[in-house]
């Protein structure tokens, strides 16, 4: 008996019985329709099967070591209450698929309905879909949606948007149909240059895309923008990568955003080296029918009881095919469930408190760093839980020295912004203990003194 047979229940006898029923002699006969010249004669060249214990051991050995981390930039260390993983590990949730059959999927459907409500609240918008792949692809879909609505080709993209998100937008759009104008940031303040933005804003613009907090951790001042954008008949799209910021920040919806699209990883989803994460997508009710992705709606059953179904599917690929609003089918359902559980645990007060703790610890670290000789806070605008640090030494060297003490001291910005080659993006969350921040600052001081 082979180990892999634990997933394959057939006995040799049963296989024979079944073949007889079909009228075949041997298993190979099942594949007679495949032209013989293509049929493989050798086994696939893969490692031999491992038992559960051996497999677990060999995978354990591939794990990365634990370092104290000040990394962020679109993926954040946050505490995840035990409840989240326990409940999301209920296999009735995770072994189900898309709730096409509502009578046997009310659990998934109600949870998504709750998720949609929470996302509307978080972003200050009217409608939310059931999730997208991640923040970057969600933002790219928002840009495509703005084009569907306005039929205009120009997109104003702030340079302070996460560089990987910008790259995804550039990949999603077709240069034959769209033109991207990059809006620079103010060198002192680190926020999008409003003069440049308004200078480029005209009646050819389909969307203005900003991120807040932006890639430098800076809270963009969104007031007064939507009015100017709407005057020109364009849409305002706000992206984000740190959803937790909205526990304390006024949500983009209250600044007149038309689409809010970003990353929900901070809401109870593990880092997992970059995925799976959670694309959030919310908009105004008037744009509902242009939205990508699945939607869950409330309705009643034959007996008048409340129930939930997938709805407005005529926008989607399985009905509308080549005229669908997007090609998305499988989304990030389980991550949406995790975010729903996470936010339910935190509640109104917990979310605010957690946000404030992030803000407070980041401010603490910022203060320590600003007192170090050779360190300067990179930009003057307000930040949430990350900030840019300008160093008088090569950041790569500094990071290497911190790494010797098992600290990942920040993210060097040179890769994304060549002009910021002396700059570090530092992220501080509730996960960074005070003593850890102190040690980080101490080592930073030491290396700068060298």
């Amino acid at each position: 008996m082979k180990d892999f047979n634990r997933y394959l229940p057939h006995t040799a006898e049963e296989i024979q019985e079944m073949l007889e029923e079909i009228g075949l002699e041997k298993v190979e006969d099942l594949f007679k329709m495949i032209p013989p010249q293509y049929r493989l004669t050798k086994l696939l060249n893969l490692p031999s099967p491992l038992s559960e214990m051996d497999l677990l051991r060999s995978l354990e050995s591939l794990q990365s070591p634990f370092y104290s981390s000040f990394l962020g930039g679109g993926a954040y260390h946050h505490f995840i209450p035990s409840v989240v993983s326990h409940l999301a590990s209920r296999s009735e949730f995770y072994t189900a698929y898309t709730p096409y059959q509502p009578e046997v999927s009310q659990g998934t459907l109600q949870a998504i309905f709750e998720f949609q409500t929470l996302m509307c609240e978080l972003t200050g918008m009217e409608v939310s879909n059931a999730s997208m792949y991640d923040g970057a692809s969600s933002l790219a879909e928002a840009v495509l949606m703005a084009y569907r609505i306005t039929r205009r080709r120009k997109i104003l993209l702030s340079e302070t948007i996460h560089p990987e998100y910008r790259r995804v937008i550039q990949t999603y759009i077709d240069p034959d149909h769209h033109e991207v104008v990059l809006i620079p940031y103010l060198k002192e303040e680190g926020r999008t240059d409003p003069h440049s933005l308004f200078h480029h804003l005209d009646r050819e613009v389909s969307a203005v895309v900003l991120q807040s907090p932006n890639f430098f951790g800076i809270i963009e001042d969104l007031s007064g923008i939507s009015e100017r954008v709407h005057q020109e008949g364009a849409l305002l799209i706000i992206g984000f990568s740190e959803a937790l910021a909205y526990g304390v920040l006024k949500p983009p919806g209250l600044f007149g955003a038309d689409i809010v699209a970003g990353e929900g990883q901070s809401l109870g989803i593990p880092l997992s080296y970059g995925g799976p994460y959670l694309g959030i997508f919310t908009t105004r009710e008037k744009f509902l029918r242009n939205m990508p992705g699945r939607l869950v709606g409330e309705t009643i059953d034959l007996e008048g009881r409340r129930g939930f179904v997938l709805t407005l599917a005529t926008r989607e690929q399985h009905i509308r095919r080549e005229r669908a609003t997007s090609n998305i089918c499988t989304n990030e359902g389980l991550c949406a469930l995790m975010a729903t559980i996470f936010l339910s645990c935190l509640g109104k007060e917990g979310l605010r408190e957690l946000s404030l703790k992030n803000l407070s610890k980041a401010e603490y670290a910022k203060r320590l760093a600003s007192e170090i000789r050779g360190c300067r806070i990179g930009f003057t605008s307000p930040t949430f839980n990350e900030f840019v640090l300008e160093l008088e030494r090569d950041p790569q060297e500094v990071l290497r020295e911190l790494r010797r003490e098992k600290i990942l001291g920040g993210l060097s910005l040179a890769r994304f912004y060549p002009e910021l080659n002396n700059h570090l993006l530092v992220t501080v969350t509730e996960m960074n203990r005070k003593e850890e921040i102190d040690k980080w600052a101490e080592l930073l001081q030491k290396t700068m003194g060298r």
């Binding site: 892999f4 079944m18 189900a96 909205y246 080549e322 729903t340």
Partner: protein
């Protein structure tokens, strides 16, 4: 008052927002440790949130009971047979879940320096090699987050390669049996979709492709086995025709579960194929994701792979971001790594021999089911199938019973319904994919239920039209849901 009803263990459960009390909380937060910063001190007050409307305020116990009850209204693979055609709802090994939760992976930040990520990079590199071996292709990207995302990635690579060649081919040939995603992915990649008919056998004929293939066509997008569960017998020849006229062959690998170790798509002339890890490679579907849709390509398309690409210098793995011809990025970071870990563990659990067995048994199960049911349900294409088979409601029509009724009645017998009304070329389709992890006993139970339902359709059709009865909610008013969309809870 009036909130208690004798619903037994199928408890009523309000929305989370309708529960709890003001001031309740379901979590503990870490110590402040540093002075609390009043946000007004550092952030202009017009940028601060003033109030919340509808956020829950519940205890941990309430959260746990709430979601436990919700889960009990769901049916998953762990609940029983889930023969949803084209979705490959096979058993999701628990070991794989453990692997993805190992903290040295789950707590790993994507911007961690490469020197500290050698293990995971090696694993990803090996997974790429495994998938290349299974599909018979030259290189793989793990970046796409789902099957449709993989389709889009593949088509964009084809577009980039054609533009590099100085060609402006605008069309994609898509068979009438295709998944809806194939059509919408074509549009999203700026191609125009052109339909191509499958023949009376239910497959594409080389003759038909030859007629429609021309210098306007960028690619043929074929699913093999196709959505009728049939092997595209002429694909080898078809690929040659497409290649001769300068086009590419894209294969939707959603149905790869039938082919592992049996035939390699690359040998059939396929140039690009996306692999759905959440189907063939046993990672759970998560109630609608996350999945993963790696894309495997032949040599000519390698320069266009999305960045970064995992490469090796001596013993050291690194991420190469510097690839001038790349299409760019399809999402942030490197893909759904948590899903890749599960697929990797699965491939290592099975090995080459195990994966071949998987495909053999998946095809055996489908053919057995087809044989046992074809006297009771109309089989539009009566020929050996691969991993799934498609019936219709034609025999039941005269009793005014539809595919939908049959599907709903199956719920009363304790099964998840098959995929219904797809593929579109078959009127009233019932698409059944049992997968290899179902035993003969389970299949016999499903067969018995299906035969009983066929009989009920004749004798007591109302039973079907009223189904399901033994569920939390009965048939739901979908028209109402679409006419008056209520997509969120609102405070009164």
């Amino acid at each position: 008052m009036g909130r208690i009803r004798d619903t037994g263990l199928v408890q009523e459960e309000p929305l989370i927002f309708e529960k709890g009390r003001r001031g309740r909380r379901g979590c503990s937060l870490p110590e402040w440790e540093v002075d609390e910063v009043k946000p007004e001190r550092v952030i202009p007050s017009h940028l601060l949130r003033e109030q919340w409307e509808g956020f829950p305020e519940v205890s941990e116990v309430e959260v746990v009971r709430h979601f436990t009850r919700l889960s009990q209204w769901n049916y998953g693979v762990d609940s029983g047979l889930y023969p949803l055609g084209s979705c490959t709802m096979k058993y999701n090994p628990k070991l794989n879940e453990e692997v993805a939760k190992l903290q040295g992976f789950s707590k790993l930040h994507p911007y961690t320096p490469e020197e500290l990520c050698q293990g995971i990079l090696r694993l990803m590199d090996e997974l790429e090699a495994f998938l290349a071996e299974i599909t018979g292709m030259d290189a793989v990207t793990l970046q796409p987050a789902a099957g449709a995302h993989g389709e889009l990635t593949g088509l964009m690579m084809i577009r980039a390669c054609l533009r590099d060649r100085g060609e402006r081919r605008s069309r994609i040939l898509v068979p009438d049996t295709a998944h809806g995603t194939n059509c919408s992915s074509s549009t999203l990649a700026s191609f125009q979709m052109v339909g191509i008919k499958s023949d009376e056998r239910g497959i594409l004929s080389a003759k038909q492709v030859k007629e429609q293939m021309n210098e306007e066509v960028a690619a043929l997008m074929v699913t093999n086995p196709n959505t009728l569960g049939l092997f595209e017998e002429e694909l080898g020849e078809i690929s040659e025709i497409v290649h001769q006229r300068g086009g590419f062959v894209y294969c939707d690998g959603a149905n790869l579960n039938a082919l592992m170790g049996i035939v390699k798509l690359g040998d059939l002339g396929v140039d690009v194929v996306q692999v759905n890890l959440h189907k063939t490679f046993s990672t759970p579907h998560g109630g609608g994701g996350p999945g993963a849709g790696p894309v495997a390509v032949k040599k000519e398309l390698v320069p266009y792979l999305p960045i970064p690409v995992i490469e090796r210098q001596g013993e050291k793995y690194y991420l190469n971001w510097n690839r001038p011809k790349t299409i760019g990025k399809m999402r942030a970071f490197y893909g759904n790594v948590g899903v890749m870990l599960k697929a990797y563990a699965y491939i290592l659990s099975m090995g080459g021999e195990g994966l071949k067995r998987v495909s053999e048994l998946a095809v055996l199960n489908a053919n057995y089911l087809m044989k046992k049911l074809k006297d009771h349900y109309h089989l539009p294409y009566d020929r050996p199938c691969m991993h799934e088979c498609v019936f219709t409601d034609r025999y039941q029509e005269r009793f005014h019973v539809t595919t939908l009724d049959i599907a709903k009645r199956l719920i009363d017998y304790g099964f998840h319904p098959p995929t219904i009304y797809f593929p579109l070329v078959v009127k009233g389709a019932l698409m059944i994919e049992p997968t290899e992890t179902e035993s003969k006993d389970e299949l016999d139970r499903l067969i018995e239920a299906m035969i009983l339902i066929a009989k009920e359709a004749e004798e007591n059709p109302d039973l079907l039209r009223q189904a399901p009865q033994r569920v939390k909610v009965r048939r739901l008013d979908e028209v109402l849901a679409a006419r008056k969309p209520k997509l969120r809870w609102s405070p009164k």
